[in-house]
Amino acid sequence: MNDFIAARSQMALSLGFHIIFSCIGMVMPFFMAVAHYYWIKTGEPVYKNVTKAWSKGVAIFFATGAVSGTVLSFELGLLWPGFMKHAGPIFGMPFSLEGTAFFIEAIALGFFLYGWDRFNKWFHWITGVVVGVSGLASGILVVAANAWMNSPAGFDYINGEYVNIDPIAAMFNAAWFSQALHMTIAAFVATGFAVAGVHAFMILKGRNILFHTKSFKIAATFGCVAALLQPLSGDISAKDVAVRQPAKLAAMEAHFKTEKSASLIIGGIPDEKNKKVDYAIKLPGFLSFLAHGDFKSEVTGLDKIPEENHPPVTITHFAFQIMVGTGMAMMLISAIYFFSHFKQKNWLKSDWLLKLFAIATPLGFIAVEAGWTVTEVGRQPWIIYNVMRTADAVTPMPGITYSFYLFTAVYVSLAVFVVFMLYRQIKMVGKLYDKY
């Protein structure tokens, strides 16, 4: 592994780690707010227990998310000084606003976690909602910064100089809306399915049924609504990418040759040397429809793009397939869930539905990681699309490989710790909360 690949891998690792915590930090507060609302309204103690148990989970995730985020803000410079020297002043606006959002989130979390029986109950409830809202705001802002790397705006690039900088225009770049929408919904899908899955599993094991049933219902409802919306927003993203970054779309679809009525490829193994895809199912015309809303339209293939600007096709294609596949699976589960909710109440009590959810626990997060791989790997070899190459941005310091090994070890042990911690939380639910 050379230092350049090590730097890319370390960045990917840190971001892939952080995104899990940030999704949970953005979404769990809303689940808590619902449980908390029921507690205030009905006075049923189980809702208070759910809120408290969840809030402990959130505290663990928040702290881990905060340290991994702090690491990221240094890593941008440690690994990509060439990028930050020019990009910092242009795409910094969302980061400076994000500072405020983080602060509000941290303050509100202080009120919420330590505020039980101390404040007016509605004030306390509101602080929980504020945690969620500011978390969402910071997620949207940082995605706007990433969107700028995909569709640079707000500056002119003249003779290697970045002039006429306009940070506001940079923030509202062409990609920010589709990416922020898709990311926000993704956070709800991923967290909803993960939480619902864990509670479904506990119901199946017959532990603290009341507690886990109430928790399951809240999480599953959020997750399933979001999972039904996600493919729609994914379609918006795909159409957007088709216009902005044809190379990325071509890589996602392993679409080697420019053609009209292009076929959508499902599955298959791209053969980058011979520019073809083996063993794929082809749906003629569907790619044209997906990309431009018209079965006949022309879709740019990799042949129109200079070789040195090709992103890695295989990774991008597989990642895209995984995202769409898991997305479809979750959409199906959601449809079943709502169908049983409105038409077949007895299904809700059946083991197979719970088993389905238990199996689906990791699907949302798998989709999130895959989706980010599509976005980031699909942008290669550019760090700022069509402006700066990733290879020109990397730090001159040798030995990044060791830094990558070190951070891998740290993140792996951290992940083990967090899982261990959650396992202990869940194991203790009976002791702490099952007085009813």
């Binding site: 505290a59 340290v67 020297k85 910094g92 980061f95 400076s96 602060f103 303050i107 202080g110 202990r424």
Partner: protein, 337 residues
């Protein structure tokens, strides 16, 4: 707007030093406390900073964001030449943040607790040590952006006596801030006396480390004495800090603890002021007389406009909420069992 941005940068560094510093200090105290008293230190600490814990560490992020948005050349130069100490500091931040959370939220209490505690205490020492080393290096003239060999570009930029003594000084200051802070949080005379002794210990440690810093500066030809005593601002700040220290010991001796915290805060503010005032706006002094200046190496006008505005608007939201948070938990501290 440039001045607004610089003010925010300076203020966030100061607040991080004071609030984050007291927080690190609490871990450092644990490191220097007998086993028997550790538990009480931990509880006092937790009831004192639990609710504002996250907020204390936000100041570092604010400072970093200001640097990379407003002063990208300074940020990227530092990131390259300080890569190694920054990485160590980050590992410290990761270890400490997670250990702090885990030891509080672990639902099962068993042997794991002592592992968390050890990690917490050690990383509480390492992190400010390296923060200090980085800070010391910025003005030491050892950073050489033109260097091509590994050792002078990435190692000797920070591995020298001046930086190390500044690191130790920072650690002592953190311990001092935390002890003074905890005096006010204790609910009985016994603990109060214990923390007063700790404050004394760290105060002496800070003075000793301070002298070492001066010695190292002479040894490495860094005009620190000139910066501190060569101008009126420096002289007044040092004299008033010394006077306030004497006043502080007088008050402590007489059991009046109300003013201790503001006085300790004042002393640290004065130290930061004297050390930054003279060479402002050059915040990084490079090898061979070059420098990076907040004036000459700032971003373009429009960026600073936007950044300054974002900071001003942000503080309108943040400051009242933060004060209310601190006020609420000051009035009725947490009961930790």
């Amino acid at each position: 707007m440039l001045y607004v941005v610089i003010t925010f940068l300076w203020a966030s560094i100061l607040l991080y030093l004071l609030l984050g510093g007291a927080d690190y200090g609490a871990g450092i105290i644990e490191l220097f406390t007998s086993r028997k008293n550790k538990e009480i230190t931990r509880k006092t600490l937790y009831s004192a900073i639990g609710p504002i814990w996250e907020a204390n560490h936000m100041w570092l992020i604010i400072a970093i964001v200001i640097l990379f948005v407003g002063f990208p050349v300074i940020y990227s130069t530092m990131s390259v030449n300080m890569h190694i100490p920054l990485t160590i500091m980050l590992l410290g931040i990761i270890a400490r943040g997670t250990a702090f959370t885990f030891r509080h939220y672990d639902a099962v209490v068993d042997d794991m607790q002592s592992i968390y505690n050890t990690i917490f205490a050690i990383s509480s020492f390492i992190t400010p040590l390296f923060l200090g080393i980085i800070a010391g290096s910025t003005v030491s003239g050892h950073i050489d952006p033109g260097a091509t060999d590994f050792l002078s570009a990435y190692i000797f930029s920070w591995l020298h006596w001046f930086a190390i003594t500044v690191g130790l000084f920072t650690v002592a200051i953190c311990g001092f801030l935390a002890s003074v802070y905890l005096i006010g949080e204790s609910d009985n005379d016994h603990d109060r006396l214990r923390f007063a002794h700790k404050a004394q210990f760290f105060n002496i440690a800070a003075v000793v480390c301070g002298m070492l810093v001066f010695a190292a500066s002479l040894y490495e030809h860094i005009p620190l004495i000139e910066w501190v005593f060569g101008n009126w601002v420096g002289r007044i700040a040092i004299i008033s800090a010394t006077l306030s220290l004497i006043l502080m010991w007088y008050l402590l001796y007489h059991g009046k603890i109300g003013l201790l915290r503001p006085l300790a805060g004042f002393q640290v503010t004065m130290i930061l002021l004297t050390t930054t005032y003279k060479h402002f706006p050059k915040i990084v002094l490079l090898k061979g007389g070059g420098y990076l200046s907040l004036m000459e190496h700032s971003g373009q006008e429009k960026t600073l406009e936007a950044l300054g505005l974002a900071l001003l608007i942000g503080s309108v939201f943040i400051l009242p909420a933060l004060f209310y948070l601190i006020y609420s938990f000051q009035k009725r501290p947490l009961e930790v069992h």
